[in-house]
């Protein structure tokens, strides 16, 4: 019996001493939790800065990431450049030669509520907004230290730009989009005027906070880029004199690229004219699902290898002056590369899908200033600015003698040509209130894109994706199907 009692005692010891309170407490080993980051951020202002910079850096990766919307192995989802290319294919200016990735934009099914493309565009920019708000919580408007002000400026600029893209893609007249900031979460579609006010406030605060900021790399937004955003904003909404002023401020310190750079393939962020872009390397390259894969006619991606070329609308190519160096961005019949006529060689990647992306460059600022001045009545000023840019492109160019609508048309032609493939064509088409005219005599558009929509067509407005409609009960009215 003694032995049994001893055994009994030992057994109970084993039973009840088995586990401590911490036994069931676990932490991530694969990732970090929000609590862990918050704990670091709260420890000191320097720490808060580094956490905010970390979130900002993460967003910089996200801008060029593959499968941002989580819809699977979708090779037309690679972030901001995918949206640029997709919207370009919805304009008059770009032709998709073969039905493949991106054809949904070209044939106008990408903007339908059930399409995973509108889903991607919406989710992408709202995730950027979330990331910016996440970091902005750590750098409120009361910060004083210069580094903190600069980072706050950068964050606000990018947030404003994300809203700017969204409102121009999804806004339908007065009906805007949901607004999320560090203090409010408004899931209902806000009036477009409110969204515009937020964008302008973000850009202006960014512009002033970025005073004195000197950046390490062109992947960060600086005061010039903020000015560029303001120029784009004011041009879009008809504030011409402000557009011209900011455009001029934006390009200060930059000059148009040399003619050898023009033919270099638009793949180096170090280009003298580039103001803001993405630096792609081995770790960030998304290979086949990347911009150069889709548009580089000489690269072994979808365009070069599988012949899914992106070509210019012939109305652009046929009207480029013979002395204009930009004619060499497109090929003619009988070219040595074996490409079809009108295919572009503007974008060539001479690396293994590590070509850099351009988000903003100085040439655009010249064009904004010229157009703003022309629309604002200062035609002489417009012509001068245009000359400054085009003289570096076209050796045979002299000061324009056009006036009125003809001058505007000339400026717009150069804008379409200069910024071809950089994500402006669709937004310009809407801003100028012109029609989509692809089905004209002699057109070089593909058969699955041969249709016309009148100016101001509801088709130019993307429908809000069904994932938002289903999950957001307070959203409001959907954009029309047609």
């Amino acid at each position: 019996m003694k032995k049994n009692k001893f055994l009994l005692f030992a057994l109970f010891l084993i039973v009840f001493s088995a586990c401590s309170d911490d036994y069931v407490e676990r932490d991530f080993t694969n990732a970090v939790s929000e609590e862990q980051l918050a704990a670091i951020a709260n420890s000191s202002p320097e720490a808060a800065l580094s956490i905010a910079a970390g979130v900002e850096g993460g967003n910089n990766f996200f801008l060029n990431d593959f499968n941002t919307a989580g819809n699977g192995n979708i090779h037309d989802d690679f972030g901001h450049m995918a949206v640029n290319l997709g919207t370009d294919l919805m304009s008059n200016d770009m032709v998709q030669v073969l039905s493949h990735w991106f054809v949904n934009y070209y044939n106008y099914t990408a903007r339908n509520e059930n399409s995973i493309r509108t889903d991607m565009v919406w989710k992408f920019y709202y995730k950027v907004i979330y990331n910016m708000n996440d970091a902005l919580k750590l750098v409120p408007s009361t910060v004083i230290a210069p580094e903190l002000k600069h980072i706050r400026g950068r964050l606000l600029a990018v947030r404003g730009y994300a809203y700017f893209q969204l409102i121009r893609i999804y806004g339908n007249g007065d009906l805007g989009i949901p607004i999320y900031t560090t203090t409010e979460a408004l899931g209902e579609r806000q009036p477009t005027a409110d969204v515009k006010a937020l964008i302008l406030a973000d850009f202006e605060e960014a512009y002033s906070l970025l005073e004195g900021y000197s950046r390490d790399a062109k992947t960060a937004v600086d005061k010039n880029v903020a000015a560029g955003f303001l120029a784009r904003y004011h041009l879009e909404y008809g504030n011409y004199s402000q557009a011209a002023t900011y455009a001029q401020a934006a390009r200060s310190g930059y000059s148009p690229m040399s003619s050898s750079d023009l033919a270099d393939g638009f793949n180096k962020i170090g280009n003298a004219e580039w103001m803001w872009g993405a630096d792609i390397n081995t770790a960030t390259s998304t290979v086949y699902a990347s911009f150069f894969s889709q548009i580089g006619s000489l690269n072994p991606g979808y365009a070069g290898l599988l012949n899914v070329y992106k070509s210019a609308d012939r109305r652009i190519f046929d009207n480029i002056s013979a002395t204009d160096a930009r004619k060499d961005w497109f090929v003619d019949a009988g070219n040595p590369y074996g490409l079809p006529k009108y295919a572009n060689i503007k974008f060539i990647d001479d690396t293994d899908f590590e070509g850099d992306y351009v988000f903003m460059r100085a040439a655009e600022m010249y064009l904004i200033e010229a157009e703003a001045k022309a629309l604002g009545g200062d035609e002489a000023g417009a012509k001068q600015v245009l000359l400054q840019l085009i003289s570096t492109r076209d050796s045979g160019y002299a000061l324009s003698s056009n006036t009125g609508a003809a001058l505007l048309s000339e400026i717009r032609f150069h804008r379409k040509l200069e910024l071809w493939g950089e994500g402006f064509a669709y937004f310009d088409m809407k801003r100028w209130n012109v029609e989509l005219n692809r089905n004209y005599t002699g057109t070089n558009h593909a058969s699955y894109g041969l249709f016309n929509y009148p100016a101001g067509s509801p088709k130019f407005v993307f429908q809000i994706p069904i994932s938002e409609v289903n999950a957001n009960i307070s959203l409001g009215v959907q954009n029309p199907f047609e």
Binding site: E25, A31, E468
Partner: protein, 1053 residues
Amino acid sequence: MRSKFKWIFTLLLAFSMQLSFAQEKTVTGVVADKLGPLPGANVIVKGSTTGVQTDFDGKYSIKAKKGDVILVSFTGYNPKSITVGDANSYKIVLDEGMILDEVVVVAYGVQKKEAITGSITEIKSDVVTKITAGNVTQGLVGKSAGVQVFNGSGLPGDAPTIRIRGIGSLSANLNPLYVVDGVPFNGDVNSINAQDIESMSVLKDASAAALYGSRGANGVIIITTKKGSKFKNSSVTLDTRSGFASRATPDYKFIKDEGKYYEAYYQGLKNAYMFTGNNLDSNAAAALANANLITGDQGLKYNSFNVANDQLINPATGQFNPAASLKYNESWDDYLFGDGFFTQTSMSVSGGNENTNHYFSAGYEKNDGYVVNSGFEKITSRLKIDSKVNETFTLGANIGYTSIRQDYLDGYTGGNTYSSPFYWVRAVAPIYPVRAYDAAGNPIINSLGVHIFDDGTGANGQSPVRPFGSLQHPYATAVNDIKKYTTDNLYASGYFDFKILDGLVFTYTATGELFNVNDSSMDTPLYGDAVNVGGRVSYTNQRTFAFTQQQLLKYAKKFGKHSLDVLAGHESLDRRLNGVSAERSKLLLPDSPYVNQAALNQSNGGYGSSYALESYLSRVAYDYDNKYYINASARRDGSSRFAPSERWGNFYGLGVAWRVSQESFLKNVSWIDELKLKASLGQQGNDDLGYELPYLTQYFVNYTTDSTLPISYISGDYLGNKKITWETTTNYNFGFNASFFNRRLNIESEYFVRDITDMLFDKPLPPSTGFQVTPTNIGDMQNKGIELTIDAEVVKTNDLSITLNLNATSYKNSISEMPDNPTDTDRVIAGNFIREEGGGAFDYYMREFAGVNPANGAALFWTNVDDLDPTAGRILTENFGEADLYRIGKSALPDVYGGFGLNVEYKGFDLGVNFAYQVGGYATDGVWLGGLAVSPGGGIHSDYYNTWTPTNTNASLPRLDVDDPLNYYGNSTLNLIKSDYLSIQDVSVGYNFNSSMVEKLGLSKLRIYGLADNVFLWSKRQGFDPRQSGVTGASSNNYSLLRTISFGINLQF
């Protein structure tokens, strides 16, 4: 029939003290059944503590006095008693009977079958060993009422999806808990050799599974492995079978004739020109389609016939040119698929004496599979020892090691990727060859004299660019890629039993499971999408270690007619996973799968996750006079997955049973052998939504090679929820078990209700918030249903026995509460389903297809649909975007499902056939709809002949149109099909050689047999296999199920 298993019940024979004064003598004899001596039968003197077992020759020797009653019993036979007279030797012959004192394996122990108050189905070894699938649970289809088994993929060794009693949750882990030899199992069931399995018990209701509380909310499957017998000598069993595996069901009927394909695609172009694009008239459209058929921007690019491109089709008639003949004819099916050889061999040795028994087994299995280069090889081994050291102390160990090597290819799990062979053969047009040919039809040979593969890029200079899947070549990558999984599973469990007092036992069990998976994957630099990066090679190693400890205190006592069983215990689990991976590109050697032989660094990483669970459990079981039973259990669990304030949950179970057949008013009714009424209720929890720590939001550090960049991170996909806690399932179960006519007819029926509250669910968030989902406890759901199991021995003579069995389950799923929303539409739309109060979890929410416009073949849909009265005032529209979505009144869940079967035994022959069926559900068939969504180079389904053309204006399907692809209409009833099916799941035929012949060979048993599984399927559409579509009812391009036909021998000595 001899049975040599389940010696545990002998422990339950009560020994009571009694003094005996008469003179004892030694009584000897033989116990036999009609076939011969019966080893291992129990011989006891009634009322005494003495009991022995018969030896290998059936002989016994026991001390007894004249007048004592000797009771002889053996599982599977009716017990017999004899009174000791003057003789000293008695031969006792036992008759076969249905199980009386049978013991069923239940939570943390065993219970006599009549004492079960809950719902348990047992699947015995003889059924289990007939399963040829690499994963033994694949063979459970139709075998148990209340259990739905979906074999999502036929890949050898793949685990099926098992649902017990309906849908347990909307997105939490729905898999049942597997328990192996009393310990919850963390590994993969395919590491267990089916031949090692003694029985599988499925615990379906709460009181049965409550002791597994937290992880048993979706039911528990207990797998008990064989243990050594108490024979004096060891016995050896050897089982081997071989055969072939082939595709179980024919594929969808896609157009495979090249000429017919050109005709169909031509029509697709012509329809587009007439109706969707330029609106040309018929002649102009015909001419344009003919001109663009091969070389247009939507052309097919390849002309596999020996006539000019514009001579393939006659534009006046739209018909294919009968004078054309093929330049080449290659079928992707022939290259990618082929019957695979399969073999399984297993050997086991079991033996022992009263104090120690052992069981050792080793097994080998090889299955080449149905897809090229996708074979599977498995080696299993197991050693079990139980040793009674002395009266107080027993210990034992159970050690198993399994090694699996699986060759696989990209896309083998199916899905709509170009690299999936199953998707490819349906999705590619039959005009594209596997190998490259030039325009004249001559093979293109490379400098090494090899006829190269055609990857569709036109890079060989003589072939055009293939519009479908260019750069992809699933056959070339399948044979040139090197991809394999190598898995090592080590299972080691040890226990000791301390008998503290009479009836009080303490058991400590510790189990360690270690599994290690290597994934070595090389993408060839010769073909496919790794060509331009010079090939890719990656290596991942993942190690999981799970350590479970149990401390159980059991007390069992009989006081006269009262019997009491008490259990109290503590269990803890610590499971950790660690992994490391590396990837490089630019291979030096084109066939090297080693990372270090490649040059360009792509990525590397180390990761891990962990899970811990701690539990306190208890159970009390009481019965009176073997007539009235009651048991109750309680459990408290803490999970690492929840925040500390939400961490712990309490779960309980209660069951009662009444053996009406033991009552005096029924005891003498001869044709009723057993009638038991039972009722139970209980609660269980579920903590698994698939997240490691759902209450925390994750941030992932970005990997970079650029040292100038700061550390950066980005938030994950889900928003953490601090309040997340246990999902609770409350199960109610009422039923009866009855046996009639000497147990020749057995009926079991149960009515169950599963109420699930605080369902774990991935709630979709508006993407504008920056997240797509958040894990939540959302709403309540209920599954109500009825199960019926019948088995009947309809013919029973000396030589012949025919048994029929049937099981059927019918359940309804409904959502009883959704969380409140600011507006009154409390609903969640998930894909094709709508979830709202009063509806089911898988009710379809779609647009309704209304037929075809005879003027232009456009698909028509209903719009202006009133949810409450769908047919009133609705309008037709051709505009899919305008069609209204509404609840169409159909569900993905079937009304009834189950199985039935037949077993015949005649002399030594046995034959078994098992069927499975399902009636009343609907599925969406995206694979079929994709075959009508014509795109350049894409496959076309033969239902093309039912589509509208200008000459077939009464067709039921919309026109084929390259500019208006139909798969855009996936969320509509056009895509809906009934998921009813009837399948012959398995057929087995065997012959047992009789004992006299067998003994001459020195054996104790010899059986030859043939087995076939996945024999046949009737479903609503050829190629559509509802068994693969799972609960969500969607067809898929998964690895198809395999039919295995094999022959084998089983012998014992």
